[in-house]
Amino acid sequence: MTITVKFFSLIREALETEQLTLELTDSLRTVEALKNELGLRGKAWSETLSHPNLIQAVNQRVVFPEEGIEDGDEVAFFPPMTGG
């Protein structure tokens, strides 16, 4: 399956990446599993994606790491929000 992954703010900077399009095996079914998979890319990735304040969204809704991922989903990682 194919998903899009987006990174914002401090996370985007730490990973030097704005967006990825990933082909995943169908066995990779949760945000948590995706984070572990991405963590294999190196220390910056494993440390950044395991930060306790990290927020994750699937299809523009904030979710827990246990949330499932399906083909075509848009996943995003970012720090706590500071708008307004």
């Binding site: 987006k6 914002f8 703010s9 401090l10 985007r12 969204a57 523009q60 809704r61 904030v62 848009e74 995003a76 970012f78 720090p79 706590p80 929000m81 500071t82 708008g83 307004g84």
Partner: protein, 154 residues
Amino acid sequence: MLVHVTDETIDPGDLATRFYSRHPDAAVATFAGFVRDFNDYGRVDSLFLECYVEMATRVLNDLGNKAKQRFGLRAWQIVHRYGEMETADPIVFVATSADHRVEAFAACEFVMDTLKTDAPFWKREHSGGAGHWVTVKGVDTDRRERWSTEDLDQ
């Protein structure tokens, strides 16, 4: 347009004028936020506001609809700027109208409090060549929390 998330200049005076004209309801509350020229550490020259645009639009739409239902609003609008801004540039405009002022005020404050912590925007302040990402304030989390105890519909 109930929600507008844009990287172009916004004009709160024009937005308020149009809102009043379309919704001359008994009670209309508005909030406008402008880029401040100071923070906890000193002077601020400019602001970069990063935005996850598709999600911000969705979150603000959900928020406006929730405010409408919860406070019995007649009308509402949320406009949020993102991108590079200078001191005193407008960032955000919220308007709420209702039959009574208590509901209009409460809804406007609820939208602002919730938007601060739930809408995907990230502030980066610049002063004298240096920049830093703004961190979440305890007061904002507390303000958001105030409304949650009554969030029966969540």
